[in-house]
Amino acid sequence: MTVFPILSAVTFLPLLGALAILLFVSGGEDNVRGNRLAQIVALGVSLATLALSFVMLHRFDPANTGFQLVERFVWIPSFNIAYIKGIDGISVWFVMISTILTPLCLLSSISGVKKRIKEFMIALLVLETMMIGMFTALDFVLFYLFFEGVLLPMFLIIGVWGGEKRTYAAYKFFLYTFLGSVLMLVAIFAMVLHVGTTDMTAMMGGKFPKEMAVWLWLAFFASFAVKTPMWPFHTWLPYAHVEAPTAGSVILAGVLLKMGGYGFIRIAIQMLPEASKHFAPLMIGLSLVGIIYASLVALAQTDMKKLIAYSSVAHMGYVTLGIFSFNQQGWDGAMMVMLSHSFVASALFLCVGVVYDRMHTREIARYGGMATNMPRYAVVFMVFMLASIGLPGTSGFVGEFLSMQGAFLANSWFGLLSALGMILGAAYMLWLYRRLFYGALVKDDVRAMKDLSVREIAVFAPMLILVLWIGIYPAAFRNVYAPSLEKALLDFQTQSQGTQHD
């Protein structure tokens, strides 16, 4: 292997950065220089990772539907466990999302995180390694390692830097997802023993007998439904989002939730096609309930972060709805919703962070009339708010439209019900905007807030560009994943059809 192992480099560069900070930077509450150095190193490392990930994107050939840039090393020979990494069109964007969001989080945390700055930088960099590792892993043990490894830094991020009820939120987050994952682990055992290797590519294509596949599917469902999260397994999310620091919420919404959607495509669909078809009614039912229920709950929230958290649950409902509609529109929609939600929900959490850093409250009622004194902020917030609603021209529209179209093709009632979610989405988002930005500017502390700083604009600018870019010219993004996704759909249809005739 003379080729530069770029996937490993992208994965482990942040970890090396974290190690460097741990060993060579002296932290401490009052150590201003040390903390500043930690921030600079972390930002530098994450930007270098971003640059590397662009090299990866450049080397990636969208026309090739197989796994690319594959790296393979023997790890535990006697158990046939290998270190295998590779990306295809489905995973490549998730890696990019991780590498794009991390530097933005680091940048935004400069004003938000005031204590244990060095440790926070380390935790975020470790988290980045785990996320990228998970999306590029092609060996089941490796996959599980990173999938679970995410919990470690996230538990600490919520628990150490979180809000008042952070302990409860951190526990709930950890134990809930851990419970789902261990069941997945047992399913992995069964699959590994059935196939005889832990290589994930060897498991694709419906190799499991139906009775077995049904149980395996349920075990994976336990894990991914919690992670996505789907109603009624979503209850950890509002707490985790509300209590996490801004950067934690951003990563949670931007990347961690996508692990569920990615898992559904990569494992449930590609490895257990028949069982996926079998459980499609359940998935669609839960998705529809999730979309409508979460939207209604969002209407009733008084806490900004909780509102956005529930909107996340609704948006992820579109993802699972699209996936389990089993048509090109639905799958395209699912991918697009995930892409768009990564930037839109993250940006909305960052927006909340902007005022939270100034006022230290997330109560919607504490604000009002900010359009007067913070016009730039009002514009930025408006764009992301409209993208969340799914206004044409923004990223949100493309995904939700396609996802609903997919659902409509599967069954017109599904399309109708999911459209209800879009209306409700417009309702809670516009209402939120009205309460925050319009009305009279009566509160003194709100009046005293300054508009966005240059650093904050630097955080939002790339996200604004991405959101509009996806909205106006989605083909630029679609072209990268489309061949792989179309191939996966074709495989899925033949596999789940072929066995139906048996």
Partner: protein, 488 residues
Amino acid sequence: MINSQSLMVAMPEIEVAVVGLVSLVAAAACGARVTRHIGLLAIAAFALAGGTLFCPERLSHLLNGAMPVFAFGTQFVDDGFARFVKAIILAASSLSILLSWSAFEKDGDARPEYPVLILFATLGMMLMVSASDLLALYVGLELQSLSLYVLAAFKRDDARSSEAGLKYFVLGALSSGILLYGISLLYGFAGTTDFVSLAFSLRDQAHAHPGIVVGMVFVCAALAFKVSGVPFHMWAPDVYEGAPTPVTAFFASAPKLAALALLTRFLLEPMSGLTAQWHQVIVFISIASMLWGAFAGLAQTNVKRLLAYSSITTIGYLLVGLVVGGKSGVQAILIYFTIYALNTLGAFAVLLCLRRGGKAVEAITDFSGLSKTNPVIALAMTVLMFSLAGVPPLAGFFGKYFMFLAAVKAGLLPLAIIGVLSSVVAAFYYLRIIKVMYFDELVGALDPLPDWGVKAVLGLSSLAMIGITLAPSPLIEGALKAARGLLG
């Protein structure tokens, strides 16, 4: 009966015994000031014994270690399994001596009897691991147990330590009695005490007289007491709490492994014909231990008691491997235990760092804010606790991975599911320590840290939790070789 071949087979044990006797005399002659020297001597003896164990010269006398070799008639056996387990025991004993110095010195309890007792306990454990006869089994077990009773009561002026020693002794004596009764039943109904003949006469279930089954169950119960499997676990939390912390660290590592290895050999060799009978017993102990250890641990406020419950849960997982049986089961046991022993020794090393105002503190709340005053120790403890909880990518995950993989492979899906679910419950109490260290406010600065011995153990074990993930193959291959040594 005693020939040079036998002496060659038992050479490591002989070395430990000789050093033990020499240091006993030295300890009696020189008193407390030679505590560290004798400790170092004991570690050297363990290193020597470990070297001898795998010395090619010795192995070349023993059919190159390919087959089990007996000594002293059929009392004693040396095979790949025994060598692997002994290596772990020797390492764990050495680390326990390193852990002991600074804590005992600060409390004014530094006495050279400690390394001497560890030497004899280790000798007993080595005999247990190699026992191939019910009599050798009993002698080894008693040598070990007597040393452990004294160790538990090592702080003779401390009421809790004396209580722990007494409690351990009374219950231990009871279990020894049960063991002897079981042995006598086995001897009475099978007519032999050596493992090979027992296996031969029990190879066919039709010959299994109920008396033999009862005897076997008694031996299982006694050994379950030694490994603290539910429902024979009651002593563990009290003794763990009362015994001096270095002694508790030792209890949690080497003796557990010795008793487990003995149980493994006993059930898979002489009792392999009665698999259907002992399966029920071990399955029950396994499930009960996993669940009780996980749930009862939730209510603990003392870290040593917590670690006792953690060890009870662990025994539950390890017994899953025994139920699985075969090479994959034994391999999983050995992988899991090696990781667990290192892991738990590291956790006790952290506990030994926790002193405030000249006194050792051991409540969970005493960890509060540790990440502020001692970030390195807090980080190490975080790694160790996540590893105990079995969260990847740390080594503890691999222990569970291979264990439950073997269970699913053997069709023991319910055991695997109970196992992973109980590990979620147990994760709660490991997380609590991390939570207290990172989320809670500081209760006060620690005393200066202990000497290099504790730090070395702490560094070694926390780095091993990461290192084993990076290069797991040596451990896995070694465990496989050991399992082949036991089962051919």
